[in-house]
Symmetry: D2
Subunit: 391 residues, 4 copies
C-alpha cells in the first residue's frame, strides 16, 4: 500500500479525531502514544471532554487547531464530515455507556470508527452497531489492544497452524488489585464511573477487564464461547457492581475452560494471562511478561519463545520494531493495532485492496459484540444461580 | 516428649507396618523415604502386595523379617496385634478402594492408622471411618503430604494471624500432563487403576489430585467448602473417568473461589498451587517452588518469604532441617508429616500429653473425610448440569 | 518550562536533524521511535547515509523535505546553521569512528549534539569533545539509553538516598549471543563494522556493549572506576577484535566489582544487568525485566519494586507514561532520554532556567568520556597481561 | 553389586563412624540425613566432639552405643580398626584444619575416608593425602555435595557429549549474605572459626564456598583451571580473612571465565550457580532452582530441562527418587553422593568390581586437592597484586 503525503514530501497520515480523552482521563493518552509511534496517524480534531473548558485546554495542549476543538461530538461529526480535509476516522475513548451513541453518530456521518472496549453496555446496542456498520459498509475497529502484542499474534498463529493439536482447555484470567479498598466511594474518578451501573453497564469487572481476558482467549484460540456458568460477586461492601467474576466456559469445538477476573486481589497490579492446552502441546502468555510465550509440546522440554528470537513466526516478526530482548511493551502493542487500523481504513477509503495489512488481526465490531454477549450471558447466568447460559 | 529406645542406648522408634507399596508401586517408596529421614520410625512388617511372591520379595528387599512379611492384610492385623513387639501403626498405600477396609481392619485390631489420600471412595465409608476412629479412640493420620511443607505451614500461620485480613477469594489448582495421551488404555499400571471407577471412585482427577488442591486450600485458609458448582470432563476419548475438573467454590466465611484439576495439560509435570486473597494482602504458594511464599500486602512491595529466611515464622523454622536456600523438597515435606505423626501416635500410645508435636497440623480422618465430601459434591453437581451443590 | 508552539496553538517542538540512520541501519530507527513518543521533537533534516541515493530515499520516507536531505554532514551543519528555522540539535547515529568528527562539526556550527555511544574511539577524541563543548558552552547528550529506564532511575535514587548503606561491590554484565558464529566474516553488515578496528575502535565488545554495562553501573551506583584488570579475548577464530571481556574493577569509594561483556554466549539475546551490594541492602536490575527492581534489605524479605507500584519513588513515577504492570520497554526508556534532552536543550537555547527537567539524569559528554576511558584502560591492562591499570 | 545383609534377611549396610558433628555443629547433621535416606549406611561409632560430654551426649542421641562413642579420634581409629565389626569408613565433618590429620589417622588404620570440603588448608597437606591414599590403595571421597544434584550430573553429561560444542567460557558463582554484619566478632560460632586463619586457612570465602563454585564448574565442564588472577577483599572492617573474591580464570582447553564468591551480598541466602557457554549452546544451573537446567542451543528456543522431565538423560534419571516436579533438594543430592560412596567403598572392601556405581561421579581426594590448589593460587595472585598465577 502506497501513501502519498499531504505535503508532497513523503507519506500521508490518516487524519483522525478523538472523542473523550481530555485532561484527567486515562486511556485517551495511551491511544495518543500509540498513534504517534509509527507516524502514520495525525490527530487533527477532538471533542475531548463534555466540559467545554477542559475540551479547549486539552485540544490546545495537543496542538489541535482551536476551530477543530469541539465541545460536542455530534457537532464534530457534522462539521468534520463536511470539511474537505475532515477526519477519516474517529477514536472513541469515553466511558462505556457513550460508545454506542458516539459511534453511531460518526458512522452515520460517513466516518470510520476506532472504539475502545467494551463495544457497548448492552447486547442490543452491540448488535445495532454490527448491523449499522455492515449496512453503511464502514470500518469499525475495537481496540482490544492486547491482540497487538507480537507474542499474542504468534500464539494465535501457532494454534491456527495446529501446533497444539485438538484443543482441550482454554483459560483466561485478568487480575488486579486497585479496587481492593472502597476508593470508588471516596471520589476516585476512574473507580467511580467503572462501578456505576449507569456508565459501566451490568457488570463492572467483566466490562472493564473480563472482556479483555475473554476476547484474548478467543483471539488466541480461534474459538468462541457457547455457554457460561458464572459466579459474580462484590468483595467490597457497599460497592454497586461486582468486582470479581469466576466464570466456567464451554467453548466452540468442544474445549472447556474458565475466565477469571478480579480487581480486589492484592499483589496483582495488572495481571492478564491466557493458557491453552491441546492434545499435542500447551502454551501460556502473560501480560506482565509480554515478550515471552511458554510453549510446551507434550513429551518435549518446555521452551520459551521470545519476540524476535528463535521460533518466532512471520507475524510476530512483522510487528516487531526492536530486535529480540530489547523489550517492547504496552504502547508498542497498542501501536501495532493503530498501524494496522490506519492501513485498513486508509485503503478502504481509497477503495484499494489491502496488501500489507492484516485485517483479520484487527478486532472489529463483531469481535466487540462477542465480548458484550459474553458479559450479558455471565450476568444472565448469575441471575439464574449460576445455571449454564448460552451466548 | 522423651523417647526411651528399644536397645537402651538412645531413642525409641515407632514400629510400623505397611499395606501396599510393593515392587512396581509408586507412593509406598515415597512413604519409606519420608520415614527414614529423621530416624524415628522403624518399618518392621508388611503386606506389601496382594501377590504373595511380590509381597515376599519386596519385604526382603526392605529388610523386613520373613515371618512379618504377610500375604494378607487381615492376617497382618491379627498377628501383629498379638505380638508384644507388634506394630504400633499401619501405613496404608494401596489403591483408593482398599483404604477403607484396610483401615477398618487395623483400627479394630487396636492399631493406629496412617493412610494415603483419598480417605475413601465414598462418603459413607469416610463417615464410617470417622465414627469408628472416634469410638475406638484411635489416631488416624491422612497423608495429605503437601501440608508438611514449611512454607505451607507458614502460609497457614499467616492467614490465621490475620495477615491477609478478611478473606475474599481462595483458589487451588493442580495441573499435570501425564494423562494427555491414552496410556491407561495401553497398559500403564498407575494410569489404569486411577481411571478405573472400581478402584479410583467416581472421579479420577479429583480423587487423585483434586483433593490435594482442595485440602491444601482448606489447610492454608482455615476454611471449608460449603457448596460447589462443577464442570468435570474427559479430554481423552474412551477414558472411563474424568481427567479434568473446573469447580467453583463457596467457602465458609463468605469467600469464593475455584478448584481446578487437570491431568491433560502439556507443560505441567506436577503443578500444585494455592492463592488466597484478603482485604489486606494476598499470598501464593506453588509446589514447584515449595521453598517460597509470595506475600503481597496491599499498597506495599510484593515480597518473597523463603523457608528459613527473613519473615519466616515459628512453625516453618521448627520443621526446617536445612538453612535458608539449601532446598528442601517433597520428601522433606512428607517427612515432616511422619515426624509429627510419630510423635502424636507415640505419645497417644503411652497415654502421654503431647508437648512438642503439633497435632492440629497433622491431617486426620476428619480432614480426609472433608476431601471425600468435596469429590462427592462435585460429582453431584456435575450430575445436575453444574447446579450449586452443598457439601 | 513553557513551550510556545510554532503555529500558535500549543506547544513547540525541538527541531533536530540526523546524521546516519538511513535504510539498512539499526539504531537510527530506534532514535526516531523515541523522538516521536512524546511529540516534543521534529525531525526536519538529515544526512542519513554517506550514499547519496540512500540518503535521499531515506529522507523521503521520513517526510524530510528534499532540500534538507543532505549527502554530506559538513554541508548539513553549514546550511542548517544559516537557516532561521534550522535545526537546534543534531542526532548522531553513525558508526563509532565518525562520532567525534561529526559532533565537532556541529558543535562548531553552534548546534547542540545528541550522540550515540561510545562517545569516540580514542580517549584523545573524547577529551577534545569535552573541552570543545565546555569552551563553546553547548549541550552534548550521549544516548546511554538504559539510564532512561524508570527503574534504573529509581535504583540510582535509592543508592543516593543511602538505602544500600556503604557500597561494597558493584557488578555490571552485558551478554549477547549474536556473534557466536563468524557472521562478520560472512558479510553481515552490523557485525562487520563492529568488529573492524578502523570503525569500532580497539575493543569491539567493550565499545558495543561493555560501555553500556559500565556506564549503567556508574549511573546507578554514583561511583566511577579507578582501576581495572582485564581479560579480553576472542571466542571466534579469525575475528579481528575481541568478543568477550572479563574485567575486575576497583571503584571510587572503595567498592570492588566486575564488568563482564560477551557477544558469544548462546541463550542471551540481550542480557544487561547491574547488581550493587552495600552493608545495608542489595539491589539488582535486569534489562530483560526492565520494569522490576529486586531490592533486598539485609535481614528482611526480598522485595520486588515495580514501575508505578508500591515503593517506587518520585523520579520513576515522573517518567512513567503507563500505570504499573502495563509494560514500558526499550523505546519508552529511550524516549525518556529524548524528552529530558529536548527540555534541556530547548531551555538552554532560550537562555531559560530548567525547572521541570532533570539535567543530572541526562548523560552528557563527560559521561561519554568516562566510558571511553574505561575501554582504553581495559585494553591497556590486557596489553600488560592483566595488570591493574588506572583510568 | 549384591549386598548380603547383616541379619540374613536382606541388604547389608556400610558401617561408618563420624568425627565432628556433635551438638551445636551444622554440617554433621546434614551428612546424617543424607546417610539415612536410602538405608544403605549405618552410623555405629563417633568422636563427635572434642568436648567429652558433648561427644557422649551427641552419640546417645544418635543411638550410638556408649562403648563406640569416643572422645578422641585417634583412639577411635585404633579401636574400630581392631573390631571385627569395626567401621568400614569414617566421615570427617570437623573444622577445615583438622581434615588432614584426621583423614591421615584413619587411612593409616586401614579405614576408608569420606571427608567434607575443603580437603585441607594447605596444598602440602592435600598432596600428602593424595599420595597416602594412592600408596595405601584406600578410597577417599570428598563431599563436594553439589555434584550429587541430578541436574548437575545431567549438565556434566551434556557437556561431555558435546552438546555445547567447543567451550568458550565457564563461570561459577557462590553468593551469600550471612556475613554482611560482623557476627564473627560477636561470638557466632560458625562465623568465628570460618574467619579464623588458624582454623579456616588462608582464605575464608574461598575455603568455605569458593571451592564449591570452582569444583562444580570443573565437574560440569570437565575442565581444570590453569591460571587465576584474583581480587580478594574484606567487606567488613576488622574481619581477619577475606569475605569476597573476584577471580579471573584461564581454564584448560582454552576457555576463560570467572569464579565469584561473596558472603556479604544482601539478598542472596545461598546462591550457587554455574554457567557454561560453547560455540553450539549454553547451559546454566542454579542451586536455588536445583531441579532445572537452562539449555540454550544457538539459534533455537531456550528450553528448561527438569529432573525426570523431557530431555533428561540416563544419569539424572538414575539418581532420581521422585518423578518430575516432585522437588528433590539439598539432602537428596547429598544422599546421592552417599549412595554412590557406599557402593564404591563397599565393593572395594570386598574386592569386587563395581557394576552399578559411578565412581567417576564421586569426587575423590584428587578433586579435593584441585580445590585446595585453586584457593592457594588465588591467594598467591592476590599477594602479587592480581598477577596471573598458575595452579
Amino acid at each position: 500500500m502506497v501513501y502519498a503525503t499531504a505535503d508532497g514530501t513523503g507519506n500521508e497520515r490518516l487524519r483522525v479525531g478523538m472523542v473523550g480523552g481530555g485532561q484527567g482521563a486515562f486511556i485517551g493518552a495511551v491511544h495518543r502514544y500509540a498513534m504517534r509511534l509509527d507516524d502514520r496517524i495525525a490527530l487533527v480534531a477532538g471533542a475531548l471532554s463534555s466540559d467545554p473548558a477542559n475540551a479547549a485546554a486539552s485540544a490546545a495542549e495537543l496542538g489541535i487547531a482551536p476551530n477543530r476543538a469541539y465541545a460536542d461530538y455530534r457537532e464534530m461529526a457534522r462539521v468534520e464530515a463536511a470539511r474537505p480535509d475532515g477526519i477519516e476516522a474517529v477514536v472513541i475513548v469515553t466511558p462505556n455507556h457513550l460508545h454506542a451513541p458516539v459511534a453511531t453518530a460518526f458512522l452515520e456521518a460517513g466516518i470510520d470508527v476506532i472504539c475502545d472496549k467494551p463495544l457497548s453496555t448492552t447486547v442490543a446496542d452491540a448488535e445495532a452497531l454490527v448491523a449499522l456498520t455492515a449496512r453503511l459498509k464502514r470500518k469499525f475497529v475495537v481496540t482490544l489492544n492486547n491482540t497487538g502484542y507480537a507474542m499474542v499474534r504468534q500464539a494465535r498463529e501457532m494454534v491456527a497452524a495446529g501446533a497444539l493439536g485438538r484443543l482441550v482447555s482454554i483459560h483466561g484470567s485478568y487480575i488486579q488489585d486497585w479496587l481492593t479498598k472502597p476508593i470508588d466511594a471516596e471520589g476516585q474518578k476512574q473507580a467511580e464511573w467503572r462501578t456505576d451501573p449507569a456508565r459501566a453497564g451490568q457488570s463492572a469487572v467483566l466490562a472493564d477487564i473480563g472482556v479483555h481476558a475473554f476476547n484474548l482467549a478467543c483471539f488466541i484460540s480461534g474459538r468462541d464461547a457457547e455457554a457460561v456458568a458464572a459466579d459474580l460477586f462484590t468483595a467490597v461492601p457497599g460497592r454497586r457492581l461486582d468486582d470479581n467474576a469466576h466464570v466456567l466456559v464451554r467453548w466452540s469445538g468442544g474445549a472447556r475452560g474458565t475466565i477469571l477476573a478480579s480487581q480486589t486481589s492484592p499483589g496483582h497490579d495488572n495481571d492478564l494471562s491466557v493458557r491453552v492446552y491441546g492434545d499435542k502441546a500447551g502454551l501460556e502468555w502473560r501480560g506482565t511478561r509480554p515478550e515471552e510465550l511458554r510453549f510446551t509440546p507434550y513429551g518435549e522440554e518446555p521452551r520459551t519463545i521470545t519476540r524476535g528470537g528463535a521460533g518466532s513466526f512471520g507475524e510476530s516478526r512483522r510487528v516487531s520494531r526492536m530486535p529480540a530482548a530489547h523489550p517492547e511493551g504496552y504502547i508498542e502493542a497498542f501501536a501495532n493495532l493503530y498501524r494496522d487500523a490506519a492501513a485498513l481504513i486508509g485503503a478502504h477509503r481509497r477503495g484499494q485492496e489491502i496488501d500489507d495489512a492484516h485485517p483479520a488481526l484487527v478486532p472489529n465490531v463483531e469481535d466487540g459484540a462477542r465480548g458484550v454477549r459474553f458479559v450479558a450471558a455471565a450476568v444472565g447466568s448469575q441471575a439464574k444461580d449460576g445455571a449454564w447460559t448460552n451466548l
